[in-house]
Symmetry: C2
Subunit: 247 residues, 2 copies
Amino acid sequence: MPKLLPYRKDLDYSYCLGVFPCLELIQARPDSVRRLLLDPRGEENTGVQKLTALCERRGIRREYSPKLLSRISRKDNCYAALVFDKYEDTLSPGACHVVLHHISDSGNLGTILRTWLGFGGMDLAIIRPAVDFFDPHALRASMGAAFKLRVRQYDRFEDYAKDFPGHRLYPFMLQGALPLEEAAAAARSPYSLIFGNEGAGLPEVFAGMGQSVVIPHRDSIDSLNLSVAAALGMYAFGRAGNPGGER
Amino acid sequence: MPKLLPYRKDLDYSYCLGVFPCLELIQARPDSVRRLLLDPRGEENTGVQKLTALCERRGIRREYSPKLLSRISRKDNCYAALVFDKYEDTLSPGACHVVLHHISDSGNLGTILRTWLGFGGMDLAIIRPAVDFFDPHALRASMGAAFKLRVRQYDRFEDYAKDFPGHRLYPFMLQGALPLEEAAAAARSPYSLIFGNEGAGLPEVFAGMGQSVVIPHRDSIDSLNLSVAAALGMYAFGRAGNPGGER
């Protein structure tokens, strides 16, 4: 492995920051892990010790790189990170999906990954341009959920739709045709819950795809926060007897 | 008014950053507004012009303070802010409440304020120690919702409970006794939906108050994000025929 660089989108590896997400990564994707980075200040930490032992058992090289760690984490209290190869998943054609179209905030992405996993979802597509799934801060915001899900990034929505012709599409839009409760009650699996950009929402063209959905709210706000809207969608579709994934 | 200082919790005034929230503030709380701060680079902006005209009509002094603006906003593109006196609201005893106990993240607070307003809620209590409601960044994250709600900060939960003896308490906890759907279906208004700190949740003692609620999720995640959990609670209680506020 060449000299490690601060994270960039075009690198073919990324960093998983913090003990808890690292434990999730090494459990979920052991073959992608390349190296363990440690800060000597974390040596007494039992989580760090557990992680170190796990890496040792798997023959993963460890090194002390406090400077690189603090540079990539932008925090002083990150005592461990894993370097791992970026990977590509294939989504399950039988499972329900969440599709994130041009979303831009890494915190929202992380929260949505975590919520989807919590509600039994397993598959998620990201349509570019969008926040980089492998950005260490997005991964961190997901609290490790990122590694347990199957996630695929697409350059065009059409490519996604072509891969899953059997999926019923539910684009969430402010001008959606059906209120959430009704759409969820009549939902057919497998479905794709589609959410747009934080500011702009989904482009108008999505209104003509599948069954567009609106989450009713008062006029006193412009819109709901993206990760809130996505959670409400997952929850309502799940409680209507259409839980997220095949499990 | 003395020389303006960068925001601090102990000041008796705060700053509202950005044109849109400023328009909301001046509409909702005109008497609390003291001064308009402008960056000359924003002069061509129609929102800034609208805000300037509104302030002129109300006799609110304006001044150009680009340095102070960029200091308090920590961004370069904030062209307008209002200085306003901190105020204190009284919550309505007939309305449903959201109660945030020791929450620490200003983004979460802002998102929860916005969601609650969107679902028809009007009243919200914050139990200290907690993120400062008047922190300009919390206000900004609410997208102006903060000024439309009635918000009260309490030093102890007991003080809140004493003020509203007629409210049925619903503490949200990982070890809550009743799943969200069942609790919402049997809910009695007026109610208080109570949410705890991002990391620690609510203290154990809340399990003995009112009807504790759990939002069921898979073991694959530790917990839902706080603003997601709060939104699901508001949504489920609202759809069970117990909307948030009296309106």
